[in-house]
Amino acid sequence: MRLRLVAFVLASTALAASPALAQDPRAARLEERYGVAGWPASAPARLGLDPATVEFAGWTQLALERDARRAEARASYGPAGGAARVQLVLRRYDTPRAARQGLLEGLGVVQATLAPRQGLGDLAFATPGAKPDLVLGTWGNLGFTLRALEAGVHVTPLLPALDAALRETAPAADPELVVLPRALGVEELEAAPGGPVRFALVLDPAAPAPAALHFACTQDASVLSTAEGYALYPAGPGAVEVTVSLLSADLRRGELRVQLVAR
């Protein structure tokens, strides 16, 4: 039975800013190596991209996992019934600028120097040569990495399909006005005294449905999902602040902060 209370909503916000590339001694060298000053302008921001819709001819999407906290998804592909051969990582950033920063971070952890790759997204870098096994790039505010999971596998045949999927994404005319998945609050559900705090999310029906969630709690509390909603297990008495990240199928991320009190 659902009870009346909509728990105290601390905030329901859009997105946290992406981290800027830290100013370590290597930053300038890295920017020079990859010619950041000469990078072409970014494509306009996109609404999002659902990784489930990214298909590669002759390959089967074997697994797909969305990470609501990072607005990121990892999809693995391979022969049907076989082992994964390549992995696609998609991440939706707030802005194209943040996506470029993310790209530079990705390039910065590669030990060799990747080469610019034309005809993919608005900017891409790949293993030098005709048969790359790693490609990183951006398309507006979307960042992508396509990498072979096995030696000897190259991703060249997959690039046209990836590029087409990126280009088919709808532009976000005004990134500030993009409708994000949204929860209006939480409803506390009946719970046994001393037991976990049971609650349900009250979703905004006008917003995209979340395809993935993430709960971050203060006080070392943790959340489990159950058939009847969610159960908050606190480490002790007192109020727990819960930050709920909601991620749509196309990686738009919204956030809700609420306070729940164990009884």
Partner: protein, 519 residues
């Protein structure tokens, strides 16, 4: 996995009514207090009739109303010979008798002896682990979503009996059968869940961790009642004049303790000190009960309760800066434990085994086309985010890794054991001698399509760069690392200056230090 505390065999001395030695009939029992539902519980009864020839022996258990509930012996026996019989605490129809006071009666050839037996219901229904050496643990991924950590302590007591349908404090099923003891939970990712996703709050044994060499304590909660025929019954203690106590087999005796048990009590007990060895263990906690005899001595009650727990032993509790909350991940400790042999005690040994484990124990290979990481990233090269969840999930991002992955794994997995290390970033842009990447068939000088140079290199250090650990590649540790033959050395606590000398003929001076944060 090894057994940390084993159960000792139960010793059964016998007790007799006062003055038996002068009598012609003798009746002795192993205990005047008896809980037949404890594991291994049997009441030994010894009888003897003096003289020669044979006699008709009857040994019976009578209830408080004098009704026979079980006839143990009705047979012709020889005088002058001692007989040992056993009572399993069941009545004539095979059911456990209800807690209460019973009379054991021995009759033979006109002589009769009786003893009062207190049948009780003892047992622990929950165990919490305590003590200064305890290290709280975390399940890193209790849900489908990444980052769904669940501190094990949030589940409540580490060990609990299932909940009886009779009552929360009852030790039995409604039909009187004792509740099953839980098996230890082996899923290293999350706690046990019901089919609807709810946490299994009763009837499970969750893992625990302690620092090596410390003495674990258990805080046990006693059950309160028994069940008989679907109804709740008193546990039949405390017993006037016969106080009860709980002890750990092999630990301090009941005579060293104080107080008297009552149903529902919570009692803290010391276990045996842990050894100095790191790793994963099966901890068995053998609980016994004792009562005070008429002469003031303490006598163990037959049977006991044996709980089993997965135990991880670590060097120290990790810093909260290294491992979120300072709580090691069960899955990470479990992985590391596969590399620790029985004799691993010191940090240096553990680090060596971790480096070798990553280098050769997981089927990983060096990503030799561009040195791209599979599990690490983030804005700060020296302090990357390590997707340890994906790594623990059967190497979800593949088995081709780079140096930053390896350095992050070495430092992070060591941190789970309580060893505090750092990632050291070496740079920038230097050419290389012959190397053997992990998983490579031999030494080569053809990384990155022949470029064979690093823009940077990451290693692990536990002494701020004096020595380094590199699970990613072996160097040719001879005087001429630019040419065959090769003397392979996997850098484990290798002096950094030596390592640099064997790695590259370029000067590369950068040193950045940081730590990987797991997600």
């Amino acid at each position: 996995m090894r057994v940390a505390v084993s159960v000792l065999l139960l010793g059964l001395g016998l007790l007799a009514p006062r003055g038996w030695a002068q009598a012609t009939a003798r009746l002795e029992v192993s205990s005047r207090v008896f809980d037949p539902k404890l594991a291994g519980a049997e009441l030994a009864c010894e009888t003897e009739r003096a003289g020669t020839g044979s006699y008709r022996a009857e040994l019976s258990v009578l209830d408080g109303q004098g009704q026979t509930v079980r006839e143990l012996v009705d047979a012709t026996r020889s005088r002058g010979r001692s007989y040992r019989d056993r009572w399993d605490g069941r009545d004539a129809s095979g059911r456990f008798v209800a807690p209460g006071d019973y009379t054991l009666r021995f009759q033979g050839a006109g002589s009769s002896r009786t003893l009062t037996l207190h049948v009780v219901r003892l047992g622990v229904r929950a165990i919490e682990f305590e003590g200064s050496g305890r290290v709280p643990l975390t399940y890193h991924r209790a849900e489908a979503w990444s980052g769904s950590a669940f501190p094990v302590d949030n589940a409540g007591p580490a060990w609990t009996l299932p909940r009886s349908r009779v009552s929360a404090g009852c030790l039995d099923l409604p039909d009187g059968t004792p509740l099953d003891l839980p098996a230890y939970w082996t899923d290293v990712n999350g706690p046990p869940r019901t089919s609807s996703g709810a946490l299994v709050e009763r009837g499970r044994s969750l893992p625990v961790a302690y620092r090596v060499g410390t003495t674990p304590q258990v805080r046990v909660t006693l059950g309160q009642t028994a069940a008989v025929g679907g109804r709740e019954r008193s546990a039949n203690y405390p017993i006037a004049g016969r106080p009860l106590r709980i002890v750990v087999e092999g630990g301090p005796g009941a005579d060293t303790m104080s107080g008297e048990l009552r149903p529902g009590d919570r009692v803290t007990l010391d276990l045996q000190p842990l050894g100095p060895w790191l790793g994963k263990w099966l901890l068995r906690v053998p609980l016994r009960f004792a009562y005070r005899e008429d002469d003031g001595s303490w006598r163990l009650i037959p049977g006991g309760q044996l709980s089993e727990h997965l135990l991880y032993t670590v060097l120290e509790r990790p810093s909260g800066q290294d491992v979120p909350g300072g709580r090691p991940w069960v899955a990470a400790l479990d992985l590391v434990s596969t590399w620790l042999r029985d004799d691993t005690q010191r940090e240096a040994e553990a680090l060596a085994r971790i480096v070798r484990g990553i280098n050769g124990g997981l089927g990983l290979s060096y990503e030799a086309t561009q040195g791209a990481p599979a599990y690490t990233g983030g804005p700060d090269l020296a302090s990357p985010e390590l997707d340890l969840s994906a790594f623990l999930a059967d190497r979800q991002n593949g088995r081709r890794v780079n140096c930053l992955d390896c350095a992050s794994l070495v430092t992070q997995l060591a941190a789970q054991l309580g060893a505090r290390g750092q990632i050291e970033i070496m740079g920038w842009d230097f050419r290389l001698y012959f190397l053997r990447g992990l998983g490579a068939p031999g030494f080569a000088r053809d990384l990155f399509y022949g470029m064979h140079a690093f823009s940077y290199h990451a290693v692990a250090t536990f002494d701020r760069g004096v020595t380094i650990h590199d699970a990613c590649l072996s160097v040719d540790d001879d005087a001429s690392p630019w040419v065959a033959p090769f003397r392979e050395r996997l850098p484990i606590a290798m002096p950094e200056a030596d390592y640099r000398r064997q790695l590259s003929y370029d000067w590369f001076g950068a040193q950045l230090f940081g730590r990987a944060s797991p997600r």
